[in-house]
Subunit: 219 residues, 2 copies
DNA sequence: GTCTATAACAAGATAGAC
DNA sequence: GTCTATCTTGTTATAGAC
């Protein structure tokens, strides 16, 4: 089950690579359509709330045809998670230990809040899963995320010790950045009720957050 | 359907009240057991992810017996949401327009982060629902929450105009308080992977957040 | 590769005895 | 009020023709 998912995740990226069993052009096209449809429904309803039929309809094909490309529903979900995780963690990876500290943190905040605006479905996909205990995400959190998190904590603590950032607990700083930036995507339904058009709100969030984290971290 | 839910939510609070059809002591006890079990499972798995059987098992009774007390699964869920919403919004309601501004905001932050520590399941119950578009919560958000939110925005803006708080967009301020405080409960699974025991982390969150919002808002 | 039909099963809800 | 047995529906997954 996991096997198929991983294979799909890796190979769907480059169909031309000369591995054992590359997917055909049609296969890649249909896989992509399924994953696009899956992002739509899984992010809106979570794993159990999503019906295979919705995915099939959104992808413009029949239910059995979907299952022709993926062995089961869980494989679609896991493939989807894996296919987005690198992109999702990229901004964290791009923090430069040799850059100007405050600038690096603010840059990270800006990237994250823009992701919330540009990729709200990806954000909710992960949010849905984590709120429910991350049963299908614990593995990649332990491998991909944990290392990145620790690396970032170290960089931040070094900067603080050097007096280049105000001293705050680095782990809490990262959590609050995640919380404040992703909130606009994850709780969009609530924001829409309270503030109207979410797009406008996310647009003005950037300035607010830059100000907040600058005040917090300026040495 | 909604009728039963509302009736249950209101009457289960005070069994002795002299309304048309008060519930018996046994009824109240069983209703309470069902709602307690429901909080456990709905907060962990969301509405569709929760099985009636899990609720029954957790409540120590049979599935049909659960349905004897509530007409269906949705009624349990709606009753549960309603039975917690007042408690959940209490800290916001308690912001005193005549109090010392910064103190009032910090007090609010502290109450919220403690709720995250003491009532993580309630937090996730709402988070789960909102991430999925709040289909069964839109109504009470429009009635209960919207008014409270607007009231709070007005209080904050007045304080800012009077120079008693630094000027920031009040709506974003509220969103960031919600985001940073609830994050510890809602994303507990992730925090556990990255920082170990969530209890310790939430405990140290209070000081971090007090510092952050003080720096942000001190005039 | 794609489809219709259907098997297999899980889950919500009901009937009716106690 | 509570339970066992069961109905009914919804949903995943498969079989097999094209």
């Amino acid at each position: 089950m996991i096997y198929y998912a991983v294979r799909a995740a890796k190979e769907s990226v480059s169909s031309t690579m000369t591995s054992k069993k590359p997917f055909s052009a049609v296969q890649n096209k249909n896989r992509a359509a399924i994953l696009a449809a899956a992002l739509e429904t899984f992010s809106a309803h979570g794993f159990r709330g999503t019906r295979l039929e919705q995915i099939a309809n959104n992808a413009g094909m029949s239910k059995p045809n979907v299952i022709y490309y993926f062995p089961n529903k869980e494989a679609i979900f896991v493939t989807l998670l894996n296919s987005h995780i690198d992109k999702w963690l990229a901004p964290l990876r791009e923090i430069d230990p040799d850059g100007e500290p405050l600038e690096q943190v603010i840059e990270y905040v800006v990237k994250k809040v823009r992701m919330s605006a540009d990729m709200p479905r990806e954000s909710r996909l992960f949010a849905n899963e984590i709120v429910q205990g991350a049963p299908r995400l614990k593995e990649s959190m332990n491998s991909d995320l944990k290392g990145l998190f620790d690396r970032t904590v170290n960089i931040l603590e070094k900067w603080m010790k050097e007096g280049k950032l105000a001293e705050v607990p680095a782990d809490h700083l990262i959590y609050s950045i995640w919380a404040t930036t992703q909130h606009y995507a994850d709780f969009e339904a609530q924001i829409e009720v309270l503030s109207g058009t979410p797009e406008k709100i996310v647009a003005s969030a950037e300035a607010y957050l830059i100000n907040m984290y600058t005040k917090l971290l300026k040495p």
